[in-house]
Symmetry: C3
Subunit: 314 residues, 3 copies
């Protein structure tokens, strides 16, 4: 069993430092006239997505392509995986075909870890249920460091993560990573969508967005998933938006150097107003661009770094 | 904002001449044992199709591949784009990922122009609603010139465009381009499917296919879209076919040097008989082959020509 | 019309020998640090699948990629091919786009042969209805030879093919090929799923799995298709499983050197127990790995071997 990236806890402080440094290198590669390196030539990267997410899948596939790897795309609907065992058979088939690494997204928390126990090749968790999405946290940390020019740490940076924190794999990975890097994280949302027990969440919590607006460097808005409303966890979309949406008026009351982030895709007018999404204070597009470089770093780190291929980056 | 190709009106006479000349070069490349050139190596071409059209999408993707570009494929259904703003967010995400050009098809007229106003990178319109489909017109013009050996013009060539002209982006682009190149175009169809006001259509119109059969060099059949019948714009499929289908018998009454064209996919027995589609007078397969070279020309012209990459074609 | 691979009967004994030898070479290539060869650089391989089969399609596409060919992927649902003529038009369009070979899967027996009569380029049958799946038979033959180290023949090897033999293209191709190579094949299944007339099947038949368990070198389990039960060809899934499933207990009663094979995807607990599928006696994952090399051999044999490209393998 090779090393995989299934959660932020998999990473030592050294690992994080290495990945952020590799990200810097690959983001520079992406600025070149020909943004490709032969680092993973001959390697095959498979994407195995049980939830539809074109943008995340293509971010990884473009990362693989820019490293000169070949790509195998498996997209599966839940209907084609009704039996528990097929997950194992599908994963083993991909490995037997000759894939060197699998980037996997699945609707069940813990599924990527489970699959990695069956295979010899490394896996990258591209989102498993409400568990983790570690490359999103890495790219977010990188984007914040770069914007605030804080070097390799986030000491002194305050981040408010706003919305359905409880069900968010993005929130879970970000809280772990950002706090380890020194940031102070505050979770913001209605009581039903904030973890009751914060002992595993190195963060503070509040039910009032107003309370944190003027004291945060980063306002990180989460996606609102409409199924939460039908589950009666929150009374209504309009009630939720009234209390927790980043409106133009609220944007005015943030620090003048504060930035707005969102993992995408955004729903304008629900959790974020167009004025906030499109403002010069928004890092949303920067997050997308950063993602490709960070994913190149992760793929390279798992597949190439231990094989003396580092020099081939240059 | 870079230069885009959204309609034939975007192109000057010089542009058209350049594009047709580049098409000739790339169609020669496609005849080689290894039909690839490094002209766009390191560039990323994204296809963004909101309407399903495997053949058009693959024609563009093959064109990109033969220029050594990388390809990102976004296929979206209307259900995943219910909100107006998402079109903007999707397009901005593709640009932020690092795409250098977007080939876009959309069900709404004008949507490609709209998206191009939001982005820095060039767009190619691969069909927007009932508006335009400029690469289809370019490949059709090229195929006619090549067949009749008329050089860089179409003077003296008469073209009948037959069927649902009013709703056809293919007809709209072809009329503009063919007439600018000197061809005489006649629109043929039932009154409800021919434009009432011809002031913007540099063409004649008639409701009788019989009238033009013996005087046209090109019989250009349009696709019949079955939704027109449910909209009651034409009485019935059989009535339409009786009057406007290119039957074997009608093919007999055309000039012996006349050719049959169709943008595809054809529905044999509806707008065109198998005898016409498969006859030696059919240019339908030539149109498909020509399309790849013409799309290579368009991609190269928008991405490579101004960057001193021309020499890399050879 | 080029040479195609539509059925095992297309192949002479020499052809089979050549293909198995090429498979050996390409499986060695796949063991290299960079498992790619430039043998088909500039060639375009199209996959045209009218039935969904991600694993077979990706096996061919990976094979093409490792030979440095470009890939065009056409996936079509039955709903988009309601008219008979469109099959011809779709195939002709792919050829006109510039594909050099089409790998085709279709729900109708004989469809690949039919399409090959319309085109100039070669086709590879990746499964046509209940007719044939010749690359599956080639990879199975290779895997058996390799496992039992029998050289270029299968003399003395006894193979039991178990399940819904009558509707299985895998069984049909395997019986032909394995028997030609000298293996003794026994078909095992309920009366309604075994051919009545064995004159075209060079094999014995029995309705009792127990009879063959202790005398077979290979227990080849077929997929059970649930639609057979609704067609009343067999009484029930549980009855079928009780009689013809390879359980852990039955595995015990096979020869100690016997192996288990299955074309995939397997349904654990229906035709095969997890204990059998995951045992060290299972060749299922070896079959998948072998498939990529065998398909490289087939693509190369049809596209490159006659063009003096053989030297480019090394």
């Amino acid at each position: 069993m090779s090393r995989s990236l299934t959660s932020i806890a998999d990473l030592s402080d050294d690992d994080i430092s290495q990945l952020l440094e590799l990200s810097r290198i690959f983001l520079e590669v992406n600025q070149r006239e020909i943004p490709k390196v032969p680092a993973l030539r001959g390697k095959t990267v498979a994407t195995l997505f049980f939830e539809n997410s074109t943008r995340t899948r293509l971010s990884f596939e473009l990362a693989a392509t820019r490293l000169s790897a070949d790509v195998l795309t498996f997209t599966l609907t839940t209907s084609s995986v009704s039996k528990g065992e097929s997950l194992r058979d599908t994963a083993e088939t991909i490995e037997s075909l000759g894939a060197d690494l699998i980037v996997m997204r699945h609707f069940s928390s813990g599924s990527v870890q489970l699959v990695s126990s069956w295979l010899e090749i490394p896996l990258v968790n591209a989102g498993d249920g409400a568990h983790e999405h570690p490359t999103q946290a890495l790219l977010d940390a990188y984007a914040i460091m770069e914007h605030f020019n804080t070097g390799k740490r986030l000491d002194g940076i305050s981040v408010a993560i706003v919305g359905d924190v409880l069900h968010s794999r993005v929130a879970r990975s970000n809280v772990q990573l950002l706090s380890r890097l020194g940031a102070q994280v505050t979770l913001v949302g209605p009581p039903a969508l904030i973890p009751l027990d914060l002992s595993l969440w190195p963060a503070r919590a509040t039910n009032s967005l107003e309370d944190v607006l003027s004291e945060s460097d980063v306002i990180y808005m989460l996606r609102v998933q409409s199924e939460r409303f039908t589950e009666s966890l929150i009374p209504s979309m309009s009630e939720f938006s009234r209390l927790f949406s980043l409106t133009a008026e609220r944007l005015e009351r943030t620090r003048k150097e504060a930035v707005v982030m969102h993992p995408g895709p955004i729903i304008r007018g629900v959790e974020i107003a167009a004025e906030a999404a499109d403002s010069s204070r928004s890092l949303i597009r920067t997050q997308v661009t950063t993602g490709v470089g960070v994913r190149m770093a992760v793929l390279y780190w798992l597949l190439g770094a231990n094989q003396g291929r580092l020099e081939s980056i240059w």
